[in-house]
Amino acid sequence: MLKQSIWEKAGSIPAKFWNEGRADFPVYDMHGHMGSHYGIYMARGEAPEMVAHLKRIGVRHLCFSHHEALFGTEGNALAVEMCRRFPDTLRMYVGINPNFPEKIKRDLAMFDKWQPYAVGLKFLADYHKVPVTDPRYEYALKFASERKLPVLNHTWGTSPYAGGKVMLDLVTKWSEPKFFLGHCIFGEWDYAERCVKESAGNVWLELTAVPGERGRIEDLVRRVGSKRILYGTDLPWFDEYQAVGGVVSADITEDDMRNILYRNAESILGKDW
């Protein structure tokens, strides 16, 4: 005889997602992409299919950077175009490629014209092969500092470009940008904790690729508290229900789930953006 599962507790957040496919609050996905990808077949890589997927589960905003801006050298303008087609749902990070400084200046000069869609910057140091502490990021970091903008970093444990040590160097040097550490420096959990605790209160851990890893969200909540954790999926890489499933099936409180899924994003960017 099976015991009552987490999905069967009436009125709970897990039960709402299980039975109705969405909760009674909005979700903010703070780490997305868009467009086809060289190494993965993505049937839902374009804006219409992505937005349909997001609406099913009740994502209010997805903040994304376009694959063409990250794996190529253009694509930020294309991201704006997609935001304009789906203004209720899509927001963008301006992709920063440190190997092309003139394009950084060109695109950041457009930042104000790209309002209200552009909410921050995206660094993908592992792929661009430039450590985040390299001077080639300074123009973008100064820009983010002046405006106290979010900077979503792809991070990964032991990476010489965006691993624990260089991320700690970055976030303790720059106190004004709001650093979102994508993937929570996956595998270097001690450094993830240190980045939050040793910085000036301007660091959040972003969960992409973590939900579903057994016990990991519980561990991160213990280490830094749920107010320092943001929800993200890499959509169109990963399924929203898989990722939300990882959050709501973690052994954490419903308050923690709410912090991760929407309250923290609203406390950083407000309720109307």
Partner: protein, 251 residues
């Protein structure tokens, strides 16, 4: 809606040689927490413990720690030319008493070439008896898996499809070519990808597996529940497909 019955076909139990890992008790506790009825398990330490020892240890764990028989195991095979395991007739005849209903193999750790020459004696019998063959040792080794299935195209087998990065370019040709092959989706996080695979190849070809203990069961359960498929297809993937495989198997 009738309650979905989940049968997890991708779970490891027992310590590995390098660190403590969750065992049967932890798996059963998670199954209770998430509402999973049954699970197919292999030994977490199969790679370094070896087939002979793992084939003793796994049934012992099941006998001692799973009194309700919610778990069924996978026994490991080796090349028949080295007489380390009982010959195929005795090996398969003992599966039931060993609380196992599937077989598995780990040629990359156990150091042999997975082909007809080495494994034909066991796998020809497995094919004839329709015994499920768990191929998760091939995870990420797509060239090896492709070569293996060319040698054994009619096996009733389960290969691992998840890797976080979407694997459709690897998975789909195998589902197209080998009717006896099913894909197990632990770590397959492609947005609505389960529904896409089911529509392309039939829900009968897809099995739900969590990847315990690396992954928890809850995340992929919600992914399947809200996959966009109808109730019947979800029920097949969640557990009915593997139950059907077990019913057809002659252990």
């Amino acid at each position: 809606m009738e309650k979905i019955r989940f049968f997890d076909v991708c779970c490891g139990v027992g310590n590995s040689a390098v660190k403590p890992r969750p065992g049967v008790a932890e798996l059963l506790a998670d199954m209770d927490r998430f509402g999973v009825e049954r699970a197919l398990v292999y030994h977490n330490c199969l790679n370094t413990l070896g087939a002979e020892s793992a084939n003793r240890e796994l049934p012992r764990m099941l006998r001692e720690e799973d009194p309700e028989h919610r778990l069924t195991g996978a026994l490991c095979i080796l090349p028949s030319q080295c007489p380390e395991l009982p010959p195929p007739d005795r090996f398969f005849a003992a599966m039931k008493e060993n609380l196992c209903s599937a077989i598995t193999l780990d040629p990359f750790s156990h150091r042999y070439v997975p082909c007809r020459l080495t494994l034909g004696a066991y796998l020809d019998v497995a094919e004839k008896r329709r015994i499920p063959v768990l191929l998760n040792a091939f995870a990420g080794k797509w060239n090896d898996l492709y070569a293996f299935l060319r040698e054994f195209p009619r096996l009733q087998c389960i290969f691992h499809g998840g890797d976080k990065w979407g694997n459709d370019r690897y998975i789909r040709p195998l589902l197209e070519a080998y009717p006896g092959a099913r894909v197990e989706l632990a770590g397959y996080w492609v947005p609505e990808g389960i529904a896409d695979l089911a529509r392309a190849y039939g829900p009968e070809r897809i099995l739900w597996g969590s990847g315990f203990p690396q992954y928890n069961q809850g995340s992929s359960m919600l992914q399947l529940k809200q996959s966009g498929l109808d109730e019947a297809a979800i029920a097949l993937i969640a557990g009915k497909n593997f139950e059907n495989m077990l019913e057809a198997a002659q252990c």
